[in-house]
Amino acid sequence: MENPLAIKTIKVPTVVRMTASDRIFALMVDSFLVVLFFIIAIPLWSTITLSFRPNHFIGTNFEGMFLVPWKWSTAAYKALLGNQGFLMAFWNSIRIMVMGVASALFLTIPLSYSLSIKSLPGRTLLVVIVLIPHMFDVGMIPSFLMVKDLGLIDHLAAVFLPTAVTTYNCLIMKGFFEGIPDELKESARIDGASELYLLMKIIIPLSKPIIMSVGLFYAVSFWNDFFHPMLYLNSHDLIPLPILLRNILMASGMNEFVEVSAFGEAPVQAIKAASVFLAAIPMIIAYPFIQKYFAKGTLLGSVKG
């Protein structure tokens, strides 16, 4: 981890020559990624230009993609950012995400670790207990009754606690913990380390890529969640960003009822597109920081050392 931002590359021993088939392989890899780049980038670009499109633009969407930046209009972003409730909704989203990820990892890591111990009596039963809710989605009413009985209606906890552990993330993490060489754990146990010490000092540091990935999965799901806040929150002071954005989109689409231009120069499609980017920005910014934990051979040093 000398350079944390760069993913470590494989050190090709100089004695081994690149063969023709290696070159073909490298060429294939590169061209696949380049082609993919364009396949992803072009529609994405058209959406970005759409978010900057002025109200009076005439032309097809194809022509819209070539709209020069000095003709772009930021009206859609202004309309969204200028909303009175934007900051508070943003703050609520942050709160939900931080508390959500914290409780999610607090619950998921010990659970996954316990399930990864093959010698644990009753392990299969525990895995089945974790697995069943993955398949049984009993719908809205049974969950709502639970949240109400726990007295969580109109509390932020109602938004993040019901989804704080997902079976998918838990079992994926368990799979990674199982991949950690047994000799590491055993040597620590023989040294008299407690399970908690083992988890905190050995397992977690060794599992950064997966903890980061799972943390990201949780963060994104909390950040994007619209349904639970809509269902469980009543107070306007608690609403998160997805609800506010939905309310704004709703208003911009209700042309029949908008008697005074609430959105100035921004067409509905631009507001829709802009709202997506605004909402995604924190997650987009966060990604490179998570990528830096994706360094090759994370396990290497510890096993050898």
């Binding site: 890899v29 993919l36 829709k272 997506v276 994706f294 051979g297």
Partner: protein
């Protein structure tokens, strides 16, 4: 240690194992309480699937109606078609999006150009954040029968315009490939994380022995992420009867109902009429099917490869 073990009876070994892991059980208390409260109380409440749920009477006080809610689903005019469509999309995505995610992860791992690798990794991650509302807009730009980009190209080469979004033959492919486009980078994250755990000395050894790139991928890279691949596939099989509600609800229209209507969209239209118990019943049915599938496929993979979910 070994002699000591053989002297003891099995039950006392079990007891010893339990005692040895008491710290672990302690660690499990909070997560299990959580599961009980937030996952199993709703499942318990799910018994409204067998009742005529009346809010005033509560879950336990509502009268039993047996399987009435289930038969409403099974006797739907469209039952088999819904089942077929749902499985078609689940399996289709499993066969297209998941392999693409794996290929992407491996290629990002193998790529020797750090800039290309970083750019593609970040870029492929972005579409996950586009909602299906926006995705529909993108698809209209590309595929609209009147002025879609793809149709302009088809016309340019002398072809006939195609109504991709409203044609029953084209629609399923639009669904499958738009999902792949949106989710492949997101799906690759987990495989990239798995690749990071591979011991690089394996590659060094392989290269000293003269293995080429193809052989390294074939004999080192893919086998070492096989457990993760199996896990992901098994977990997806568990939800095989959810074909992607948000996507289809946004993309389908009456002219492609016959290939676009899945169980969840059908239930949603019923929900709009207040059929909550029906939704719960269908959820139960999907759960049982998923459970059977996961148990069977887990047994098969265990026999074939030794990896197991539990």
């Amino acid at each position: 240690m070994k002699t000591e073990l053989t002297e003891r009876t099995r039950s006392s070994k079990l007891w010893r194992d339990i005692k040895r892991h008491k710290a672990i059980y302690l660690l499990l208390v909070i997560p299990m309480t959580y599961f009980f409260l937030f996952k199993y109380i709703p499942i318990w409440n799910g018994q409204i699937a067998f009742r005529n749920f009346m809010p005033r009477k509560g879950v336990l006080g509502s009268p039993w109606v047996g399987l009435a809610n289930f038969t409403e689903f099974f006797e739907s005019f469209y039952f088999w078609e819904l089942l077929r469509n749902t499985v078609m999309y689940s399996v289709g995505k499993l066969l297209i999006s998941v392999p693409l995610s794996i290929i992407l992860a491996v290629f990002i791992y193998e790529c020797r150009r750090p800039h290309l690798r970083r750019i593609v990794q970040t870029l492929t991650y972005l579409p996950h954040f586009l909602s299906w509302v926006i995705m529909y807009g993108i698809l209209l730009v590309l595929l609209a029968p009147g002025d879609g980009l793809l149709n302009d190209i088809i016309k340019f080469f002398g072809g006939k315009r195609l109504d991709f979004l409203t044609n029953v033959n084209a629609f399923p492919w639009v669904v499958l490939f738009s999902d792949a486009w949106k989710e492949m980078g997101w799906g690759a994250i987990i495989f990239i994380a798995a690749l990071m755990a591979i011991d690089p000395t394996l590659f060094e050894a392989a290269m000293v022995e003269g293995a080429n790139s193809w052989q390294r991928v074939r004999y080192i890279t893919l086998p070492s992420i096989r457990p993760v691949i199996i896990m992901v596939v098994l977990l997806r099989l568990g939800t095989i009867l959810s074909g992607g509600f948000n996507q289809l609800y946004m993309l389908y229209s009456p002219s492609v109902f016959s290939v676009g209507d899945i169980i969840d969209t059908w239930v949603f239209r019923g929900l709009q009429e207040g059929k909550f118990a029906l939704a719960t019943a269908v959820g139960m049915f999907k759960g049982v099917m998923g459970l059977i599938l996961i148990v069977v496929s887990n047994r098969l993979t265990k026999r074939a490869s030794g990896s197991s979910l539990y």
